[in-house]
Amino acid sequence: MSVEKASPYNVDEVRDDFPVLNRTVDGEKLVYLDNAATSQKPQSVIDAVSEFYEEYNANVHRGLHTLSQEASEAYENAHDRVAEFIGADGRENVVFTSNTTEGVNAVAFGWGMHHVDEGDNIVLTQMEHHSSLVPWQQVAQANDAELRFLKVDEGVVEEGEVEEKIDEDTAAVSVVHMSNVFGTVTPVKDIIDRAHEHGARVLVDGAQSVPHMPVDVGEMNADFFVTSGHKMCGPTGSGVLYGKTEAFHETQPYQYGGEMIKLVEYEEATWTDLPWRFEAGTPNIAQGIGLAAAVDYLEDLGMEKIHEHEREVTRHALEMMEDDDEVTVYGPSSDHENRGGVISFNVSDAHAHDTSELLSDEGVATRSGHHCAQPLMREMGVPATTRASFYLYNTYEEAEALVEGIETVKEVFA
């Protein structure tokens, strides 16, 4: 193997930051390769959440007592921290959600339902996650709009598709930034430019991109952008909805109630300022504060370095797997420039579910199934794949443990 097992940072030190990585599974060392589902959390994030509950737990925004003021400041500042991290202008462009799915629904129901008209079309890729496909199906059905799909081949949007599918009748475009099945990166800039020429608004699903590579939503010129906090070292129950100010002004809240109002009368109400009008009810305060700690952690390490490290470790695994005739790897080959830290594969005639279970015996945590992309799996002609997804703390040795685990699968299904 020609790979030089180098990393732009000290991986052993990084691993020490993540308590769970020390555990064993049935006596085997844990090799956690299910990061596209959720990442592990560093001690600093766990501490930020604990500290909130231990020292200043209170509801936010309107309390005049000290704890509430401290909680409000930390929670509101977390929005600034995230805004800076993703390249948003300011906190008014950053709404905290529970997850990416909530962000997509907020756009589909708050914007899509009111701006996609009969005869319009909505353009998606063939590799959308169910969470960015199903909400748009609801919009299309309710408003008699057409759904169009950019064809993908091995995780790459095919040549000419963007020009062919996005036209003057396109009202909305919603595209995945990094595929959770292939780890490939969609050319969002081209898609956004084309959509804007035709007056369409664009939502980018960044659930898999923000945790793994530098992202600048301003430079990208996305109208809406969603991501999840728990895949980027933050707590579960944290997610982000970004919107350009003008796009947010076109958007209706999709949840109503406390915290999002300005003036309420018995018959009607008006909405408070951005971003709070999109955060009805008591928000996930501890999670938002934990997410800001996660952003600090990632920035300390450096997103460029994280991206580089993951690519190299993934490439190491991919090269070994590509050499094995009994392993089918989906997506572009290891030398493809736009390949992130996700490997979808199958082993001989073993079903993905069985592969994943046997890998777990070796301590290797992967995911198997349709990865919330059932139509794509049908397109690929496979019922399911096993997915290994890498993150900033995974090592070359863990890539090798995956390959050794695959040997066990081959033995059982020989």
Partner: protein, 127 residues
């Protein structure tokens, strides 16, 4: 160790399932999927005047556990009455398989039974 799950008998039934295929014009037919992993099973059965299963077949695709247990189930239920089939439970399936199963895999193991019972419910509604 879940490796114990993949005993030869399970793998044999996975690779060479018994009663695999379809039945034209079946009395009982039903299909269902396990949405978490994409296992799919269709069941077809022919029932005689005493409500006994004369013939049964299944098709579909999925993991070794789902396919092997469907195969074993078809062997087991031939000759049983519909009432007897409806009394089968998860433990009976575990016994047929003869292995320990984690909670996630129990769903795979009982999919065939769930489908067959679903078909029987439909059949009894119509008759």
């Amino acid at each position: 160790m879940s490796r114990d799950m993949y005993r030869q008998r399970i793998l044999d039934h996975y690779r060479d399932p018994q009663n695999y295929g379809t039945i034209d014009d079946p009395d009982v037919t039903y299909e269902d999927v396990n949405p978490s992993c994409g296992d799919e099973i269709q069941m077809y059965a022919v029932v005689d005047e005493n409500d006994e299963i004369q013939d049964v077949k299944f098709d579909g695709q999925g993991c070794a556990i789902s396919q092997a247990s469907a195969s074993l189930l078809t062997e087991e239920v031939k000759g049983m009455t519909l009432d007897e089939v409806r009394q089968l439970e998860t433990d009976d399936i575990k016994e047929m398989l003869g292995i320990e199963l984690s909670p996630v895999r129990v769903k795979c193991a009982v999919l065939g039974l769930k489908v067959l019972e679903g078909g029987i419910v439909e059949y009894e509604k119509e008759n």
